[in-house]
């Protein structure tokens, strides 16, 4: 689960990580109230959406920049008015962009130097890794590619936790000393505690900055959480912003379906995550374009299959459906009846190709064949994929 920058900053402060003074606003009326919490002078206005590249983004009305520097609070108010309710397109939002429903005002900071700091899971080591670099404010992937020696990594042993000497190693690697070193040490400690205690998946501070007075601040913050651990963090779950999620994905999660919208026109309904991914791949392989990832899970019920059809058809781009089921334990006939019921209930007009294999498959195929519905049967995944690609054209 992702959260907004303003929510992340509030969380950081709770764990003793200093951030520039800031306040969010969701309505133009709130602008004034929010701005009174900030000191006079230069102010940043930041669009709050769950996507990166905001600064270089463009709004659909042509207004440029989702993050703006303003010389005065008055300017900030005006700029915020241009952003709120407007739709921001960035490199990460896709062409549709995201509607800005919250703006975040922060006191503009005097930057001495920018750094990069992140904590995430190192999969190979099965341990948290702290990643730090003197190259902040730029794409870290680019730094890793061009100057890998400027990326410093520290693995944290979960049995002991983050050791003080490791923090000193990081500070040395960043070339900090004096007050900056002391402040950075406290910040790293706080950031790690937050990562660990909130079950974060990733905490990324880019840039982390030093100021001429020796302060160290998190100027931006990108924080995401492990979905599997949300059950023990109701306070984190409360930060979920459904406006940032695809309504179809929200509906799917209500039915315990795993759905991700894509931009193609062939919808897929599959059991199992690996098979669902491969189904998308095989559609592409034969020249089609998958409209979604949809995993109905290992024990899908009739009701789930019906719900899945409705969600799939909620996407206006869909021109055909490919159902790919390997019924290991699951009875193929139960799935087949679910498909027949769903097709009748939604009055499906689009081409439908079904590939059923596994447990009780003969009965399942018979159910489909005797339904009187136009359902094309595929023998193998490859056969079925070719058929749906051809039907959609």
């Amino acid at each position: 689960m992702n959260i907004h920058e303003y929510q992340a900053k509030a969380l950081l402060e709770k764990f003793g990580v200093p951030v520039p003074k800031g306040a969010p606003a969701k309505t133009p009326e709130d602008f004034v109230i929010a701005l009174t919490e900030l000191p006079e002078g230069p102010t940043m206005v930041k669009s709050q959406i769950h996507a990166g590249g905001r600064g270089k983004g463009t709004f659909t009305d042509g207004f440029k920049g989702g993050v703006k520097f303003c010389k005065t609070k008055g300017d900030a108010r005006e700029i915020a008015g241009r952003m709120l309710g407007n739709t921001l397109i960035t490199a990460q939002t896709g062409p549709a962009g995201r509607k800005v429903q919250t703006v975040y005002f922060t006191a503009a900071s005097d930057i001495k130097k920018e750094y990069y700091l992140a904590i995430l899971l190192d999969r190979a080591a099965s341990r948290p890794v702290i990643v730090a670099s003197t190259e902040g404010g730029v794409e870290i992937e680019e730094v890793a590619h061009k100057t890998p020696e400027k990326i410093h990594k520290i693995l944290v042993d979960p049995a002991y936790g983050l050791a003080d000497y490791q923090i000193r190693q990081l500070i040395t690697a960043l070339g900090l000393s004096g007050a900056e070193a002391k402040n950075a040490g406290k910040l790293i400690r706080g950031l790690f505690t937050m990562y660990w205690e909130t079950d974060a998946a990733m905490v990324e501070i880019n840039p982390l900055i030093t100021t001429p007075t020796g302060e160290v601040l998190a100027l931006d913050a990108k924080v995401s959480f492990d979905d599997n651990a949300l059950f023990r963090h109701p306070e984190i779950l409360a930060l979920r912003d459904l406006n940032e999620e695809d309504p179809k994905e929200i509906e799917a999660s209500k039915h315990a379906l795993s759905y991700i919208a894509l931009d193609g026109n062939i919808a897929c309904l599959v059991n199992g995550a690996g098979l669902a991914m491969s189904t998308m791949d095989i559609i592409k392989h034969f020249g089609g374009n998958p409209a979604n990832f949809l995993d109905v899970g290992g024990g899908a019920s009739k009701a789930q299959v019906v719900a899945a059809f409705k969600i799939i058809l909620g996407d206006p781009n869909v021109k055909g459906i490919f159902v790919n089921i390997f019924g290991g334990i699951m009875d193929c006939n139960v799935i087949a009846s679910g498909i027949v019921e769903a097709v009748r209930e939604v009055g499906l007009k689009l081409p439908l190709v079904v590939r059923l294999e596994g447990n009780n498959v003969a009965a399942g195929k018979a159910t489909l064949a005797s339904s009187g519905l136009t359902i094309v049967s595929g023998d193998t995944m490859a056969d079925a994929a070719q058929k749906i690609v051809q039907l959609v054209g």
Binding site: L121, R127, I260, I282, D295, G328, T380
Partner: protein
């Protein structure tokens, strides 16, 4: 021969009194697997009954192992308690713990894995379909089925299958069996970012197993475990290997069902992994329908008999 488990292996089921655990314990008993004990704290002394089977339930893994000689545990307990259940199996010095549970928090698994370091127990999973060593009976009955895989699709033979994904493993096994190619052991290592046994661990075991003549390795986007295994195969493995990577079409940064299936950087994409497979002499399945045929091609090229 086989790896990890064989027809004689005695297993205990943690969470046998739950719906999910109970259903699959029954299917394993039907398959002919020696399910000798169940563990549910507070229900010790009761029995899990299925047909003519009467499986004793114990309060702890240690009690169950001592009383029945079980050396392997399979875990079906819910995610908040699953990490604890794994460590109980480790503490009882079991040889193998197979964690089926999906949805265990990453932090729990990070701690569990650290605590397991240096202990004798091997963990497979979590979030995995389990392990099957097929038997010689009808529908491969008489083998050892641990977890949730459909037993009947298997056939006793000489191909090792290792995969992160359940249904994709079944797909591969089914393709092999349909071509009369049997399996030595099929291992689902699970779709989570932190797991007990890697592709490489299983590939090494298959390489050492004289009864395994060929290997199907199925991976997906995210992490670099498949790449690590592929490089080892290039250097050490003489057996024919076929590979498939799921997720060529997955958008970056989105979690595709499995918690571990997410493209983070340039090197964990499907394209990058497939390129390494090719470079390491692994016959790549062009589509998921091509997995068994890819192994047949690889075997032919090396002059190896698969069946």
């Amino acid at each position: 021969m086989s790896i990890l488990v064989n027809a004689e292996t005695k297993i205990l089921v943690q969470g046998i009194t739950g719906d999910f655990g109970g259903r699959h314990a029954k299917l394993s008993l039907d398959y002919g697997t020696h399910v000798v004990a169940g563990v549910t704290p507070g229900k010790g002394g009761q029995f899990f009954e299925h047909g003519s089977h009467k499986v004793p339930i114990f309060n702890s893994v240690a009690d169950a192992a001592t009383a029945t000689g079980a050396t392997v545990s399979v875990i079906f307990v819910p995610p908040p308690f699953a990490g604890d259940a794994i460590l109980e199996g480790v503490d009882a010095a079991l040889e193998l713990v197979v964690a089926i549970t999906e949805g265990i928090p990453v932090r729990d698994m990070v701690r569990v894995k650290r605590t397991m370091a240096g202990r004798k127990t091997r963990l497979i999973g979590p979030n995995c379909p389990g392990v099957v060593t097929p038997g010689t009976g009808e529908g491969s009955q008489g083998g050892c089925r641990i977890g949730i895989a459909p037993g009947y699709i298997h056939r006793r033979g000489h191909v090792g299958v290792v995969s992160r994904s359940g249904t994709l493993t079944y797909e591969a096994v089914y393709q092999l069996t349909s071509r009369s190619i049997g399996q030595s052991t099929c291992v689902g290592i699970g779709g989570d970012p932190v797991n007990g046994t890697s592709h490489l661990d299983v590939v090494r075991m298959f390489n050492d197993d004289p009864d395994t003549h060929g290997i199907v390795m199925i991976g997906e986007i995210g992490g670099n475990a498949e790449v690590e295994a592929a490089r080892w195969i290039k250097a050490h493995c003489k057996k024919p290997v076929a590979g498939f990577i799921a997720g060529s079409t997955a958008p970056a940064g989105r979690r595709m069902g499995h918690a571990g299936a997410i493209v983070g950087g340039a090197e964990d994409t499907a394209a990058a992994k497939i390129a390494v497979f090719k470079e390491c002499g692994i016959e790549v399945a062009v589509t998921p329908s091509d997995m068994a045929d890819a192994l047949i091609r690889a075997a032919k090229a090396k002059g190896v008999m698969l069946s």
